[in-house]
Symmetry: C2
Subunit: 588 residues, 2 copies
Amino acid sequence: MRREETSLAPQRELAFQRLKKVSESGLVSVFDFKRNPQNIFTAHEMITLIDGSLATKFTVQFNLFGGSMICLGSERHSSVLEGVDSLRTVGCFALTELGFGNNAMEMQTTAHYDEQAKEFVIHSPTTISQKYWITNGALHANYAVVFAQLYMPIKGTKEYKKEGIHTFVVRLRNDDGSLRKGVFIEDMGEKLALNGVDNAKIAFNQVRTPREAILNRYSDVDENGVFTSTIPKMRERFLRVADRLLSGRLCIAGLCMGGTKIVSCTGLRYAKARLVLGPDGKSTSPILEFQLFQNAVYPLIARTICLHIAFNIIKELYSKDIFTTDMEIVRFVCFIKPLITWNLKEISTTLVERMGGQGYLAINRVGEGIGLGHSGITAEGDNSVLMQKVTKELLTDLQTQKTKLPKLTQCPKRDIPNLEDVTKIDTILNLLKWREISKIQELGNKTTQGMQAGKSIYEIWTRENNDLVQEVAIAYSDRKVFEFCIHDIQTNAKNTIQKPLLIALSLYGTHLLTKDLGWFLMTGSINAKAAQNLVSRHKELVKEFHIYALDLVNAYGVPEHSLTAPVAHDYVEFNELPWTGGKTKPKL
Amino acid sequence: MRREETSLAPQRELAFQRLKKVSESGLVSVFDFKRNPQNIFTAHEMITLIDGSLATKFTVQFNLFGGSMICLGSERHSSVLEGVDSLRTVGCFALTELGFGNNAMEMQTTAHYDEQAKEFVIHSPTTISQKYWITNGALHANYAVVFAQLYMPIKGTKEYKKEGIHTFVVRLRNDDGSLRKGVFIEDMGEKLALNGVDNAKIAFNQVRTPREAILNRYSDVDENGVFTSTIPKMRERFLRVADRLLSGRLCIAGLCMGGTKIVSCTGLRYAKARLVLGPDGKSTSPILEFQLFQNAVYPLIARTICLHIAFNIIKELYSKDIFTTDMEIVRFVCFIKPLITWNLKEISTTLVERMGGQGYLAINRVGEGIGLGHSGITAEGDNSVLMQKVTKELLTDLQTQKTKLPKLTQCPKRDIPNLEDVTKIDTILNLLKWREISKIQELGNKTTQGMQAGKSIYEIWTRENNDLVQEVAIAYSDRKVFEFCIHDIQTNAKNTIQKPLLIALSLYGTHLLTKDLGWFLMTGSINAKAAQNLVSRHKELVKEFHIYALDLVNAYGVPEHSLTAPVAHDYVEFNELPWTGGKTKPKL
């Protein structure tokens, strides 16, 4: 219970002690990456039900740090790796630099190889090259996976050759907890949320680490100081090691899905219990009965359910091959993290507002979702940057015919603009496909025209059509999620649950269409009458969803003991006065 | 600088010490309510530049507590009132009860008059009747203005007669800081933000306070125990004392406008300094140059500028008569608080995301705006409840012909749907008027139809058409703000500043239209071609605004010393390493 004042130190200690409990439970192991990656993803979701700070420390320890060693290291790193499960080794992941959050390829941390000593010398040459935001760094980590530009000596000269970005396991702290010589660490201080996480600025002043420290799955330096790599291009070398961020995106998505469950479960239970102005002028009506609450919240709950289904499918696809280079799966991973983290941010923001004061109180944990959402939006690749990547990869695959545009089952040019009801699931899907195709074609045309006019892709995409670049990715993702859900609900959902899930799917669909109603009308994809019917039907679906809403969020299966918010239970009892005990509770 | 760990106690002490500094400065006095109310409103805005917690404590002390005594009390309360400026008296405002945040009329705290002792007995009979969220209550207040249901003894019986809600000055703490007998206070603990504010739960167990404690502007009890009131109806008695919330709404709006200035100034300066991927592949381009940043942020800055102009006009209108019963001014006050607080929430949320990690760091104070916005959204009346009030009062005044529907200067039924350019300021205004008229008529029709079908107003407004009730208020508010700005910019802005302000106004206008594009198209208010032109013009306006954006936010005049965020200045210098001092700053 977070009722007492909380300064940073005890919050961090608490998160660390909880991490120890997770470690002791034996329920999850870094070696799951090889035998059962799904267990790792699920663990993120479950752990967030307890504590977002714990989950953040966990994802760095098990996925970013431990997972990197499993996926990029070899036998010779096993002594460090074997300490991960037990926390004998606590690790961090030193990729981001102050000046290169957006352009990691240009990072400035260097690793010069010293032939004599057979050591790498890790160094931060500039202020903006310091590692920034490094979780576990300020207090608990004794090791780091450090990303640095490798420089190999050119034999017989004093010159060095740049070999691109590689990863090194670097010891940060001695056994007694003191910093190793040349390691500079500063606590980043207070944040918007997740203050149990000990984020650090880390810099290296000529820190030496043995030759074996390089994670050598793709590149290595042998005993004679000879550098070899299975990847010829420097740029590719970075991209391959940065692939570690892919599984990280699923971890962040899981973490934020866990947060979404806590937040929506708490919010809806409170809305059912909180009595406000009723038809009799007394405080007799739960706010859950208010259309204002329902319209604001239910479409987001429906979206959560659909994102959850899609997320499960994507996790399964990815888990079949964690070294996948299937760009379709890469796209799925790159869009599901943005969609889930944005959803958490929006649902928390909405619930805090609709819950009023109780949403604002820390102990109820709903406001926490805003901060958790924001941390997820930035982590493992900024959402908008990832969405731009989705568009880029999609257009590349379309050009090389590795993928195709979606196929319409109705022809919107002929049929759909004349329909007066566009709210059938199949019609919604066709409209989403139609939007996707149109946006892709529009971006394609604008890119071609721009290039013909002598503009660079950079100028066309970031200066002139960035909105369209984002819209393509969103149109594609919305369609894929919707398609995943249709298939999954029709094939897997049993009879009793199929009906509410279909209502959720329809509501998600009408939400997507109404959000972009201007575009559908402006382009003649639907007509005015269809739009009016869509708006009415959307309103009806909110009412239909109301019947199942509370049952659906309870069906997330959040364990009662992890719903620690007083308002998720009996908030009147929680506030009981010494002289009024039990007298006048509102009926729950 | 909030770099160190912060627990609740030192944050609160800091906010209190700062309140003392404000008090010692002599720049603002509770007596300004009589001689210069504008000074109080301006003080809120300025003080928030320093600290939102301080501003919250300030607004309770000077407006809710002090202002209530000025406006509702009389000579006999002068000894308490005279302590307000110097903080000899620190007060709180005990209106909200746990169970009646939404329906204060039904509050349960009682004040029974004891004829014998000539005292009121203040009592909290139930758990849900405890006063909740009471700022200054947990630590610093020695007095409270308490709202309670007054019960007067019926002479010659043991019965009491209910006289409705009245306000009483009740002493909470003794000179030594200990609680008075029967006063129960519990600290509410940590919140989403503003943790320097000592919010309390306050309950009364038969607490006695002298007969003179009743604030007697409208009602009084004389020496013989005779109750008199200038307001016959009980309901009206509450509404008159609750009028105090009107000035409070302007205070909260000022407070959140101050927050908006800090947040946008910090965000734009950082965006100018932060270098990310440029056309050369190096980190050479400020994020301010990215269309993604501009599209997300500039329309909100333009909206801020327009809300600011409208706010100044509304403050001036209200300040002419702080006891105003002019319902038009009441409506203005009731919509400007929602618009400004929602704007702060949205701009902070957007900037945190677009700034990435630096937005998430507490020291940069941008994330603070999210919490400040949420506190403003709930304070002095939930935004949606206020917007519903705006609609209700507007429809009432229309029915009784105290006000008229806005007059179109073009006839949209004939002209506007055929226009291909709807982005001229006069056309935008006509479209906003048209939307307002249509929504009012739609709600009027639905209300009439519903009532003819035997439904209650409650059912029609809260269960079936709550979205429309909100939309009417928003349509009305948007139109009024736009109209205020046209008039103000055309009359008052000097030549050099007029051009950027007109761009801001146009951008605000196209933002309003594009946000509701589906409605304008669906209703045939504009055609598809006009919509396409609108979308392009909106994009162009963002580019035109870019030229002035940074100058405009700097022109808010936020003093440099209150821009405490490192990213508002030289964030590289702030992060300097011992061995890299000054070497590689990005150019600012």
